[in-house]
């Protein structure tokens, strides 16, 4: 690659980088306090539906092998 091609490639790459950074710099941001509160709220609202968090009673666990019962 000639050095002219190389430097125009570098410039093209630098232009793309600046273009991308402009996009990323322009977004709207919310406060961390609000972001944290929303995450905490979501966890709180959905906790009772989370089997791995709440534990699964044996009778409702489709993966638990049912032991055979003996009637005495």
């Amino acid at each position: 690659m000639s050095s002219k091609m190389q430097s125009s490639n570098n410039i093209a790459h630098a232009r793309r980088t600046v273009q991308q950074l402009r996009i990323e710099a322009s977004i709207e941001r919310i406060k961390v306090s609000k972001a944290s509160a929303d995450l905490m709220h979501y966890c709180g609202e959905h906790a009772k539906y989370d089997p791995l968090l709440m534990g699964i009673p044996a009778s409702e666990n489709p993966f638990k092998d049912k032991k055979p019962c003996t009637i005495l």
Binding site: T17, I23, A25, A35, Y49, D50, P51, L53, F63
Partner: protein
Amino acid sequence: MGEMEELRKEADNLKDQITEARKVVQDTTLQEAVAGTTLVGRVQLKTRKTLRGHLAKIYAMHWGTDTKLCVSASQDGKLIVWDTLTTNKVNAIPLKSSWVMTCAYAPSGNMVACGGLDNMCSIYNLKGKDGNVKVMRELAAHTGYLSCCRFLSDSEIITSSGDCTCILWDIETGTEKTIFAGHLGDCMSLAVSPDFKMFISGACDFTAKLWDIREATCRQTFSGHESDINAIGFFPNGNAVITGSDDATCKLYDLRADQELITYQDSGIMCGVTSLAPSLSGRLLLAGYDDFNVNIWDMLKAERVGVLAGHDNRVSCIGVSSDGMACCTGSWDSFLKIWN
């Protein structure tokens, strides 16, 4: 080189602007915000099933949306679709290339996909007329290994590659719809947002990028990791992203605040994170590590609340079923385990 110098200056200015803008909204930290929240009690999950059948290292697994089937990929050259309740093999699909690194189940349950060092993503139709599972499409365009793939539907799939790009494919025509370029290192992992409008990618340039699928643009870039990002996932509400890295930590980044909220690390953990999955509510983060274990983290308090120890080699993949009832781990020891 006047223009080059100007561009470099503008880039540096913009980076400083972003850093400043992130600081401006940092009125607290997640750590402070959850100070009053009680730590989750110790989580102890048991192995309920062991899926035996692969003859070599398992590199990937993915749950089907029906919550009882899953697909796994091993370098024994097979994709196996398992009924996790009975441990029966529903399909055992021989692959053209045994160097597979990823697999995915279509949300419809009609197809599975895989790929690896062959640089291609192969799509298999599970519901063919004569009952045989055949290759439906071979998606070839990447110039590097296929590290991850995820279906958007039966007609679209997104792939990530060692060639530093991600591609959105039209499965019917077998062609690239959109190429997502921007990472400066191998793309290792991707995850699709719950609303299917965005996806995130983690790469060997130590960053995670958020992409708008239809606009075909990179919206945000997240830094902070000190080594390759191997695993990535969305928090269940789609507003935050979790990453796992060779730097032995996982991080939580909030999309709307555009910054890292917390790091999951422990001085006792010195090996890389290979895989991760949140529990249904997002309160638990299950992460697989090179030291053969899975650590379970309280996602809000960033403390370890459990360990899954049961594999005899690296845990390479992990997934939580869509109803949250079970976690599946896959390992280089050739077994998959179902825990809850």
